[in-house]
Subunit: 413 residues, 2 copies
């Protein structure tokens, strides 16, 4: 460890490590950064689809029940162990000293919510001592250890969280997240060809966008905001990408491309669950949501209708992959009475995000009008101070994003 | 844990777990045993060829050098973690409570000889407490933890060792090793069609045979002998197999099939290294062997010729897979001077084993004559009290085994 070197945490996701060749490229990139003068901690995800493949194997073997969450975590955490040790080997193969650490060895301690554990604390002793020996430290992302000595995982996409948490604990100068895109865009470029990479974004806006399908783990942004960890989201494939810096940026930092809103976030594969004829009494929403939260399922948009005759309808959205479990859990929930449970698949979320909206009325109306003019029906609406979200039919998501992008002139530099 | 239940350690090897279907079958078999009234610890190897596949990936990524032994152990130990958690999931899917433990969680502590670590001690606290909760405990074989908190592996085939060591530490009633054969045979049945399963065998004879290619890890037999762990070697595929019991058996226990020798062991893929013109001075053999032992390479048959003019030739055999490293290590060994280093591939070991030989001369002569009559040339010879080993050309191994099997009438019941 050299006092003059920048202290950098880098994180490479599964798609950046999907093949032997890609893994070798990442190792080369890490070594270049090292040679430029940086002390490095490299967090890695499992290679490609490893986690999904292990999960389907577990599901097939577990019979009628879901596989035990503890055993599932013991299983899927191996994917990151494999990529970490392979990365260590590849870096050493390129002539730099490296050591791989499991989440446990990296000092990451969590609660025992298997499948989506919370980090309780990090003891970076081993990381620091390996850095002091001049080594590149490769850490298996996505995992930690409970107080009872069992392995947990931190939830899908949570290797980002490992990276940010380590960056906070060792007071890194920057936490760099390498992905398969060039940065955070003003809208999904597959939907909106004019979309651009945002050079700078504040934690708060990024947090809204991360919750809205921007492929960033919201908990990692939250943690970065709390510990003031500067982040860079950039491409692991395109070395020329400038990426998006996340930090305590003010509106003026982005003037070159920004209007009142920063970007449009889209998320596909959304399902809606509607409970019809629910008793409209205090605590009913909590009674519905608590068992879902306990199961680690995050509920997004919640809308409750005006009550008629003491009964109301309550709708919420969840990721399509959770729909079956949500239906099971809610049907088994004896604390809630309702007449009927209806579900709908094939929806999408379209959101506009921007701190510029806070003090200026009229953005919601402009968004709704743009959607109406494009012939897109709105199924549900929610808003926060810096965000407006509409649920639309999934087949309209491109039309919707383009219409809004154009309405707010995000394509104009 | 039920006081009346038998306490059983079972071990299933990689070929018994090579596919999802096989793994499910093993889980079903474990559950049956549980239902018959046994408290169970189940040790598992990695599924099928996982370890080899990870090793070749590591070799490809490590450039010109061999991959770091520490990183290699971190990598390949994941194979057993995967099969242990999948086995836990499959057993639970069949309605029994089960928990998987890594080698570390099972309390297995080793030295830091990565790649072939020695077990220093086992603290079976966690295993015992999980058994007391009525759970089937699945342990990832082949691995342990160093005093500096790093993962080690115990050497190829050493999941057997994990099973025996755990059996010794929890004082199990029996340690059952499930393999892809019906038990220990009088000779390799692929070479000698009349070969039979030996019902009982003593530790000492088994140890000789294990060193000689009987597909059992010699260190596990050694440990079983020291701790007096009764073992059963049987088939994971054939539920009707009676298997071979290993224990403190006397000659008379095997009278029904045994002549003076118990069995014939064969091992293919043997290479010979010959150092020509070595100075014949005290300590020369040690000087040659020590760096090989340090690298965890086990040398088998060692033969030193009569010295002429103060120089001698020294030959030894190693498994073919080690030949390159042996050549490298020996060439780099400055403590030994020699004129030339010659190697030969494509050899095999043929051994006869039996405590009956100890007090009766003439067995060696009968063996050599049988080989001569079958037209098999002998390349090297070594003997112990209960064993005679000949090195022959690999292409003659079947002819040699049949000739000896027939000479000693092992096929006659």
């Amino acid at each position: 460890m050299n006092e003059k070197n920048q202290l950098v945490v880098q994180k490479f996701g599964g798609s950046s490590l999907a093949t032997e060749e890609l893994l070798r490229n990442v190792a080369a990139r890490v070594c270049e950064r090292r040679e430029d003068g940086a002390d490095l901690v490299v967090c890695v995800s499992a290679m490609g689809d490893t986690t999904d493949e292990l999960l389907s194997l577990a599901n097939r073997l577990s019979g009628d029940e879901s596989p035990s969450p503890r055993e599932t975590d013991a299983l899927i955490s191996t994917g990151e162990l494999v990529s970490a040790s392979l990365m260590g080997i590849a870096i050493r193969g390129l002539g730099h000293d490296a050591i791989s650490l499991s989440g446990r060895q990296a000092g990451i301690r969590t609660d025992d919510t298997y499948g989506s554990a919370r980090i309780a604390n990090i003891d970076p002793k081993r990381i620091s001592s390996e850095l002091e020996r001049g080594r590149i430290v490769v850490v298996a992302g996505f995992q930690g250890l409970t107080p009872t000595d069992d392995t947990t995982t931190l939830g899908r996409g949570a290797s980002d969280l490992t990276a940010v948490a380590i960056a906070a604990s060792i007071k890194a100068d920057i936490c760099e997240i390498y992905t398969d895109v060039d940065g955070i865009y003003t809208a999904d470029p597959r939907l909106v060809p004019d979309a651009q990479v945002i050079p700078h974004i504040g934690y708060e806006e990024m947090l809204e966008m991360a919750s809205l399908g921007a492929k960033m783990n919201p908990r990692s942004i939250e943690m970065a905001a709390v510990h003031k960890v500067p982040m860079l989201i950039t491409s692991s494939f395109n070395p020329d990408a400038k990426g998006t810096r996340i930090g305590n940026f003010k509106d003026s930092d982005n003037m070159e491309i920004r209007k009142s809103i920063t970007s449009i976030a889209t998320e596909r594969a959304v399902s809606r669950v509607t409970l019809i004829g629910v008793a409209d009494r205090p605590g009913i929403a909590a009674a519905i949501m608590t068992p879902l939260a306990d199961a680690g399922i995050s509920v997004d948009v919640i809308v409750q209708n005006v009550s008629t005759g003491g009964l109301t309808d309550l709708s919420f959205t969840v990721g399509q992959e959770y729909l079956q479990r949500v239906t099971e859990i809610t049907s088994a929930n004896n604390d809630v009475e309702y007449t009927d449970l209806a579900t709908r698949d094939g929806l999408a979320k379209v959101s506009v995000v921007g701190t510029g909206m806070t003090n200026s009325p009229g953005y919601a109306a402009r968004m709704f009008r743009a959607l109406a003019n494009a012939g897109v029906n709105i199924e549900m609406i929610t808003t926060s101070e810096i965000r407006i979200t509409c649920i639309v039919d999934e087949k309209n998501v491109g039309t919707a994003a383009q219409a809004i992008h154009s309405e707010f002139e995000l394509e104009v530099v």
